[in-house]
Structures are given as C-alpha cells and as structure tokens.
C-alpha cells in the first residue's frame, strides 16, 4: 500500500474528477469558476481533485461521475487492441486511480475492466521488455502507464544483468590441454 510520503500516490490523487454536490458549501467559491457568491450551490457540477472528491464522497456530500478513462469509448478502444491504447500520455495513473475510484462509484465492472486491460497489454509488454536493449527506448514505452513502466524497467534490467552473467569472466585458471599421446600404428 502506498505510504504517506509516497510521491507518486500524492500526484495520482491530484487527478481531476467530475462531481455533483448533494449539499451546499460556503466559503469555497474558488472551487467553482462559474459561481458569483463565495459558495458552491447544492446540485452544482464541478471538477475537483481526487483527494478532495474522495473525502467528500465518503461523507456523502458529493457523488462522483465515472471519468472518461473508464467510459464506453475507452472500453471499445481496449476491445479493439489493448496494447495500442496510449495510457502513458493520457492516463499515466490508470490502474492506481481505478483501484481507488472503484469502491466509491457504484460500478462493479471497473474492476474487471482494469484486469482485462492489464492482462491484454501484459503479453506484448513482456516480450518487448526481454528484447529491448538498455539504451534504445522503444516508442511503445511511451504508451505505458506508470505502474506498467516500472514492471517494464524491472524486466529489462534483469534481462541485461542475465546477459552480463552469461558472458562473465569466471577467473578460472585455464589448464593446458594435455594431448593424448597417440601410438602410431605402423603396420
């Protein structure tokens, strides 16, 4: 589980989600760019950072709408070809975000969707990571989410270490090859 000081967890919780307020809130007008008074009206729909939406949702002050990264269009893209979906630029925290969002929103299918996406992308990622060299960064790496990238790096570096181990200089003493004294058969 990510800790208090985990920076990637903190940055992940900064992702914006769209919420609908069930209650009003005074003194926080800056959250809603459309409001004239210094408060948010009941029923307003605003984008909040996930850390705020998460806490408010737990106290039933807002309800979170499922963001587009888990919506129908995304599901179609994954169905077509999971490995080509560009998670690196669009949703780098795809999996962590989904795991945290899933209990708050009433949609049970998100969990299965995450697993399905990961399983389909894993096959290609595994084969590419074992063949990639240390210096070249294949274009496909840019499409990986942060968590997938860590797995990719782990596999790549362990493959490089394995190759180094295979050709290592053992430092054994080389013995001179004692040739067989052949008795020439003269007759």
């Amino acid at each position: 589980m990510p800790g208090y000081y985990d920076i990637s967890d903190i940055l992940m919780e900064d992702e914006a989600v769209s919420v609908a307020f069930h209650v009003g809130a005074n003194g926080v007008g800056l959250l809603d760019p459309g409001t004239e008074t210094n408060s948010v009206e009941k029923g307003a729909k605003i984008d909040l950072p996930f850390w705020l939406a998460h806490e408010l949702c737990r106290r039933r002050a807002v309800s979170i709408t499922i963001p587009s990264c888990f919506g129908q269009k995304m599901k179609k893209d994954v169905q077509a070809d999971a490995a080509c979906v560009d998670l690196g630029t669009r949703y780098p925290y795809f999996y962590e975000f989904g795991c945290k969002l899933f209990p708050l929103v009433g949609d049970k299918s998100i969990g299965l969707f995450l697993r399905h996406t990961f399983a389909n992308r894993y096959k290609e990622m595994l084969s590419k990571s074992h063949t990639a060299s240390l210096n070249a960064i294949p274009k496909f790496v840019l499409r990986l989410s942060k968590e997938e990238y860590q797995l990719f790096e782990a596999a790549r570096s362990s493959m490089v270490e394995f190759k180094k181990w295979r050709v290592r200089d053992l430092g054994l003493m080389k013995t001179t090859i004692v040739g067989h004294k052949r008795k020439t058969d003269l007759h």
Partner: protein, 191 residues
C-alpha cells in the same frame, strides 16, 4: 489554492532523475505555507460561533478548508522527506565533501542536516572501528595496481615498508590503498 501549488512542487521533484535533486524552491514552499494560513483564516471565520454538530453549508465549507490544509501538509512533508533521503544517499555515493553544484541546490538547513548525518555515521563507524563506506561493491580481487600521483614518501604497510614516490607503480592490498585513493594521492591503474 486547494493544494495545486503544492502538487507543482512535487512534480518538480519527481521529474528529476533518481538520486538527483532540483534546487530548493523556497519561494513556492513559502507560498504553500501562506495558502495554508489563508485556508486557516477562512476555516476560523466559518466555524466561529456555530454549532459543531449541525451539518449545514458552513460545516462543509470549513471541512473543505480543513482537508486542503491537511493535503498541503502532506505535500510539504513528502517534499522534505524525499530531499532528506537523497541527501543521505549523497554521503554514501559521493563522500564527506559535496561538490559545489550539489551544495548550491541545498538550502541552509539541508546543508546542516548533511553535516549532522555525516557526524552520526562517523561516530558510529568509530565505535565499530570499521569503515563502512569502502567497498560498496564487493571487490573481485583483494589486491590492486596503483600509480602514485603525488609524493608520499616511506609508508609502512603491514610487515614491510613501501616507498611511495611520485609516478611509481605498486601492487597493494585494496584496504591499504583506499585511503590514499579517496584523498586523491593515488589512482587505480587499469590496463
């Protein structure tokens, strides 16, 4: 407001390579602290003379300000913590004296932290009578070839004395040669 600036501080830190630090961003740090003070002021004005139990609009507004302060605190703590971790690693990877480029990236209290950390490690090593910072990678060979860079003179190593004149080559035990190498008086001779 609402921890956006604090998240930018952390973005700056995470975009650096592993083991490197960006320069200490004192301005942004102070801005985040001022934002916390602003949230606190708003919180106080919403809470004043109100009944804590009723869940009305003021309650939710004050709750949002409270959460923002907690979030800013978490971001600032993580910023300091990550920087402290990297500073600790400098003692093991770089050494007791930091080069100018690294020192410029630390603020005053971070430099003090580095000095204190070095002091703690040194007193621990003195108690153990063991230098923990040599041989971070297990060496293949207990002996190495060295070339002497500046005149050292006669040194007694173990049971025999060696005359370390400038530009001479020797085949010494690694533990004997390491203190001279780290001071820059010798270098390892690699074919």
């Amino acid at each position: 407001m609402y921890a956006r600036r604090a998240a930018q501080l952390l973005q700056e830190l995470s975009s650096c390579e592993e083991g490197q630090l960006p320069p200490y961003n004192g301005d942004k740090f102070d801005q985040v602290i001022r934002e916390c003070e602003e949230h606190s002021r708003q919180f106080q004005s919403l809470i004043r003379d109100k009944d804590i139990e009723t869940k009305n609009e003021d309650h939710y507004g004050s709750f949002i300000h409270h959460l923002s302060i907690i979030r800013n605190k978490r971001c600032l703590m993580a910023y300091m913590y990550k920087r402290a971790e990297v500073i600790q690693s400098y003692r093991w990877n770089v050494g007791r004296v930091l080069p100018r480029e690294i020192q410029d990236k630390l603020n005053f209290s971070e430099q003090e932290y580095f000095k204190d950390y070095c002091g703690v490690i040194d007193s621990y090593m003195k108690d153990l009578d063991l230098d923990l910072t040599v041989d971070m990678v297990p060496p293949k060979d207990p002996y190495i070839r060295v070339r002497v860079l500046s005149e050292i003179g006669e040194v007694s190593l173990g049971d025999h004395a060696v005359s370390l004149t400038k530009d001479s080559f020797h085949f010494l035990r690694r533990t004997d040669a390491e203190p001279f190498i780290s001071q820059g008086l010798m270098e390892e001779f690699v074919e």
